[in-house]
Amino acid sequence: MPVSELLLAPLALALLAGFVVVSYGADRALAARAAGRELTAAGLSPWPDVARLLLQRRRTTTAPDALLWRVGGAGPLVAAALMLAVVPFGDTVIADLPVGIVWFNAMDVLLWAFIWLAGWGAASATALIGGYRYLAQALAYELPLMFALTAPAVAAASLDVREVVAAQGDRWHVVEMPIAFAVFLLCVAAFSLWGPFRAPAGSDLAGGVFAETSGVDRLLLLAGRHALVVAGAAFAVPLFLGGGAGPLLPDWTWQLLKTLAVLLLLVVVRRRLPVLRPERFAEVGWVLLVPLTLLQVLVTSLIVLAEAP
């Protein structure tokens, strides 16, 4: 899609916002169905929630670490935007890094810092426990995520996202490495505190890392959380679903459609599954997912060797 360089970043942010609105609407639609109330267009819009947060006053606690708290609150949104910078959109990409996959990993590792800081800075017992829960969860999912990211890189013999797309010419990676795809989606939910992994923001902790935030700070953190899911879904497409490949429609349309599909899948997962508490998930991550993803990388390597000219 021919678009001038200067417009790329604002366009990406606008698309990010658009997808956040769509995921919010889908979430509310499913909730309305479960509650048995009828769907209205007004009921799906995020505007009332945004409006109330814009009007709400900010608050503070006794002896917070204000600098770290605000950094932690704004960080997830920044990390999501930076993740989007390496997602190719048709032919264009904002940051043509030769190590795009590792960059995505680096951005999701920054979340370890940001969400812990959001919990620590609030100087509240429940927020702090929320921050520590996030680290416990992160320790469990990070290695499987790294191995799940390694599999497409091995298949394409490159860390550049565009080359991973190009290497999926005749066969999408999701067919070759379904475990890596599933683990990747699981880890996207985990680093965005989404659905089954929202224990760090859980209601048993009065909102966890959200417990003491209000107003604009809360809006930033919530927006960051939703933006992370969108960025993760957008990144899954070039990595596993062939990027913009597809008949009839141009590349960038397919990219958007596939992102939408992955996003809706994540929203359905959010509504259907209970919360996986970090102490249960820890064993799953280390004992089940690490060997599975290692096996996946092994299988992928064998396929690459078998198909080498």
Binding site: R28, L30, A31, A32, A34, A35, G36, R37, A42, G43, W47, P48, D49, A51, R52, L54, L55, Q56, R57, R58, R59, T60, T61, T62, A63, A123, S124, A125, T126, I129, Y132, R133, P196, R198, A199, G202, S203, D204, L205, A206, G207, F210, A211, E212, T213, S214, G215, R218, R271, R272, L273, P274, V275, L276, R277, E279, R280
Partner: protein, 333 residues
């Protein structure tokens, strides 16, 4: 000014409500939850995220203190309403939402609020937090004396032996009574080391007997609380809808069918202590049987206090959710 008004009206369309369930007024809580579900309004998890504070009944003296702390912790715009009868619940919520968009009222409220008194003596009522934190303690580790005064009246923590044999800080915390999904008037005074409970005391504020209700509906309510605590919000929504439409309606059958297939839920509830059953999975099955007419399990507070010691906060709130929705038959003590 037109812009602010429009934003305020939009905000008032979907307020986040902090429900204060009052012991002995269970039907009011049910009615309030039904209104929230029906209108798609959210239930706030903490005062920081709440616009409307609804007391489901007139709170007794002990609970009223906690309500005051929560009210002070709510940032503006904020509204406080009380519903003392079943017919008052819906009008209270609607007028509350309308008052949220009443800008002059909100501005007056903001002007008349005083800054919380952060005195050197750690005054619990002044702490800008919901009543689940009576004593901010910092973990300062070894060798420091107890009378060092920290800014904000904070105290230093003592050390306790924790579940794994480590000596960690002992944080005195009060969980509840306004945590979402906790029944009326239940407060758990705990000593936390890390996030593990090393001691727990169950405190029932203003205890009153609940009015009688069909056991199947009580079982559905208990299911809703358990599913909310387990994090399956759709399941909780369906359970509350089943409670509202009656135990033999299609929503109930739908819910029970989904519960039979809920494998991940059962996996996450395995091995946790439950009242009158081997673990929470068996408890879940007993509640399902109770919806069909079997008897409800009986819960005791002393058992609860024993069960939660050694668990972490998340698991403890699951156990509390299981215990507390079931009032022992004839309880008034």
């Amino acid at each position: 000014m037109g812009l602010t008004e429009r934003v305020a009206h939009a905000a008032a369309r979907r307020p986040h409500v902090l429900l204060v369930p009052v012991p002995g007024q269970r039907p009011l809580r049910w009615a309030a939850e039904d209104v929230l579900d029906e209108r798609g309004w959210a239930r706030a998890a903490s005062p920081a995220g709440a616009d409307v504070l609804l007391c489901c009944g007139e709170p007794g003296p002990e609970l009223a203190d906690h309500v005051e702390v929560a009210w002070e912790a709510m940032p503006g715009p904020r509204v406080r309403v009380v519903a003392t009868a079943l017919a008052e619940v819906r009008p209270a919520l609607l007028t509350g939402a309308a008052r949220l968009s009443d800008l002059p009222v909100q501005r007056r409220d903001a002007r008349d609020r005083s800054a919380p008194a952060l005195s050197a003596a750690a005054d619990p009522a002044a702490e800008p937090e919901v009543g689940h934190d009576m004593d901010h303690s910092m973990d300062m580790g070894m060798g420091m004396d107890m009378d060092m005064g920290l800014p904000g009246g904070l105290q230093m923590a003592g050390r306790v032996q924790d579940r794994d044999g480590l000596r960690l800080e002992g944080l005195n915390l009060s969980l509840g009574p306004l945590l979402p999904g906790w029944p009326g008037g239940l407060r758990l005074d705990v000593v936390l080391s890390g996030d593990v409970l090393t001691r727990a005391d169950v405190v029932r504020l203003d205890r009153r007997p609940e009015p009688g209700a069909p056991p199947s509906l009580v079982a559905l309510d208990a299911l809703a609380m358990l599913l909310d605590a387990a994090g399956w919000t759709d399941g909780a929504l369906r359970a509350r809808r089943a409670r509202a439409t009656g135990a033999s309606g299609p929503p109930t059958q739908d819910l029970l069918r989904r519960l039979r297939r809920a494998r991940l839920l059962r996996w996450s509830l395995r091995g946790l202590p439950a009242p009158g059953s081997e673990d929470l999975v068996a408890h879940l099955d007993r509640l399902v049987d109770a919806v069909h007419g079997a008897g409800l399990p009986v819960a005791e507070d002393s058992r609860l206090a024993r069960d939660v010691v050694g668990l972490d906060v998340g698991t403890a709130s699951l156990v509390v959710a299981a215990h507390s929705a079931l009032e022992a038959v004839g309880a008034g003590v």
